[in-house]
């Protein structure tokens, strides 16, 4: 009883403190966004949405970030599956390698991409032989986005697959389901919220990509100038145009991240585990 009482006291003291810290953090995160949104009046914002350069940048951003996300999902799903289900030597090292782009300064990623896939890069000769030159093309934008954004999908999906209850897999095995069938009918549906959240994060990271893109793909309106690059260039001449673009980018990101949470409401691993245990 004494333990329970002490715990209750700690809870009573802890909750207001936690709330205070949370409010402080949320205010800190929200303030710059609020400053962006309130800087340019809505009418001015709408007027600028028709700006040709903005429309080009927006279209390019949407096309490339979508292409990058699809690429990451196609290549990342098998990777996440292997990481979640197999043990092999060097696995820890491989995991570090996959996570690395997340912490690498994007400019460094861009230089690395140039030295690897540039015309004079490691694979430049081979790519040239089949008539492909990557830098300064829209393909380079997608490549840069895939590089920096892949870890988000792989990490989330791998965690989701790893949390699937062993008993379901055993049950599938006793029913003589092939590993592929077990994956598509049992593991993937259970891990779907995680995978979707990971894909959304990958998409959002690709949409916001700047450093690797400007280094590897350069800056050319209509070809490689995505929204973040357009914002950066506009910032040097026309602050309000830059803010208008930023607000648009912000709304887009909020829309998608919110949409994902509405489609798959129980995204947090804890809640999913609780639900699994209920069954």
């Amino acid at each position: 009883v004494a333990v329970a009482q002490r715990k209750a006291v700690a809870d009573r003291a802890g909750a207001p403190l936690a709330a205070f810290l949370a409010v402080a953090l949320v205010a800190f995160l929200a303030l710059p966004l609020a400053a962006l949104v309130t800087r340019v009046p809505p009418a001015e914002l709408l007027r600028r949405l028709g700006d040709a350069e903005l429309v080009d940048a927006l279209r390019l951003s949407l096309v490339t970030s979508f292409a990058a996300t699809v690429t990451v999902v196609v290549l990342g799903l098998p990777t996440a599956y292997l990481l979640a289900t197999r043990e092999f030597p060097g696995k820890r090292l491989l995991e570090v390698l996959i996570d690395l782009p997340m912490v690498l300064p994007p400019t460094v990623a861009g230089v690395g991409l140039l030295l690897a896939f540039g015309r004079k890069g490691l694979t430049g000769g081979a790519l040239d032989a089949i008539g492909i030159s990557v830098p300064f093309t829209t393909l380079a934008v997608v490549v840069a986005q895939v590089f920096v954004a892949a870890p988000f999908f792989i990490g989330a999906t791998r965690a989701g697959l790893g949390e699937v209850d062993r008993r379901f897999l055993d049950a599938a095995a006793t029913l003589r389901a092939s590993p592929f069938r077990t994956f598509t009918r049992v593991m993937l549906p259970l891990a779907f919220p995680s995978a979707l959240a990971g894909a959304a994060m990958t998409w959002a990271r690709a949409l916001g990509e700047f450093g690797a893109t400007i280094t590897f793909a350069g800056n050319m309106p209509g070809v490689t100038q995505t929204m973040p690059l357009a914002v950066y260039i506009a910032l040097q001449t026309d602050l309000d145009a830059a803010v208008a673009m930023s607000v648009l980018l912000l709304c887009l990101s909020v829309g998608v991240l919110l949409g994902v949470r509405l489609i798959a409401p129980d995204l947090t691993p804890l809640r999913r585990r609780a639900r699994l245990q209920d069954r």
């Binding site: 280094t215 793909a217 350069g218 800056n219 309106p221 910032l235 040097q236």
Partner: protein
């Protein structure tokens, strides 16, 4: 215990004064266009090495970025811009102490990688269809000068018809800083780039071939320098005096800039 001591030492090192940033009260912070980096670093060392010389630290970036940083409240003692426009921008906001003075000129050159993948041997070749040309963005001083110079070249006799349109059609990237243009040509990813003469000094020289643009088609970029208001004005003035003096002018010339004494 030993681990704890290491951690403490490490924290002390982290909290200690930075080598790059001046925490000394008499340190001098210079905001300078990135095209001045090599020359100014040498001048900074020169000033610091003098008896009682203050440590000099630099913030090198595009002039337009520096101007915006200063406008937003960044603290510096000297501002050196690659064009008059951004110096005016800063001066109009009352951030400058005294009159800005022109201390050097720069001119444009065309650079191509040593291997010359685009086979560019003369300025007319920049109009060859399909070559990859990298230039500065229009917001960056070098980008504006580049466009001016291409216009002037187009008017020359013997240059192909629609020269400026054809050259601009070859632009594959508009870089945010002149050094990014150099980097992309140096790496061999671009066939040609247009940069300042002073960007082709020192380290990068051996990777590049330089094509000169004749005077009458060139654009003379003039570099103003000024002491900033509210900073270490004594230190700032010492740096400005060094830049304008014979020693400073000699160092600038060594790095490919044209000293003011050689004014055309």
């Amino acid at each position: 215990m030993k681990g704890l001591r290491c951690l403490l030492l490490f924290s002390a090192w982290l909290a200690g004064p930075s080598a790059a940033q001046n925490s000394a009260p008499d340190g001098i912070t210079v905001y300078a266009a990135v095209s001045l980096a090599d020359a100014f670093r040498e001048l900074g060392q020169m000033l610091s090495a003098r008896v009682g010389g203050a440590p000099v630290s630099f913030n090198f970036a595009g002039s337009q970025q520096l101007a915006l940083q200063l406008e937003q409240g960044a603290r510096g003692d000297v501002f050196a811009s690659a064009d008059q426009r951004w110096m005016e921008h800063v001066r109009a906001r009352k951030l400058v102490d005294g009159e800005p003075r022109t201390f050097a000129y720069n001119r444009l050159v065309v650079i191509v990688p040593r291997s010359n993948p685009g086979r560019i041997h003369k300025l007319e070749d920049l109009a060859k269809p399909g070559i990859k040309l990298v230039v500065g963005a229009e917001a960056v001083p070098v980008g504006r000068y580049t466009r001016e110079s291409i216009q002037k070249l187009a008017a020359r006799t013997g240059f192909p018809a629609a020269y400026s349109e054809r050259v601009l059609a070859n632009v594959v990237s508009q870089e945010e800083s002149v050094r990014s243009v150099v980097a992309k040509v140096q790496l061999g990813e671009a066939d040609a780039g247009i940069v300042y003469r002073s960007d082709v000094s020192g380290q990068v020289r051996r990777y590049l071939t330089v094509l000169e643009i004749p005077d009458e088609s060139n654009v003379l970029a003039s570099y103003p320098i000024a002491v900033l208001a509210g900073g270490n004005s004594e230190g700032g003035r010492a740096f400005v005096d060094l830049v304008l003096g014979p020693e400073g002018q000699r160092v600038l010339a060594k790095h490919g800039l044209m000293p003011v004494s050689s004014t055309p």
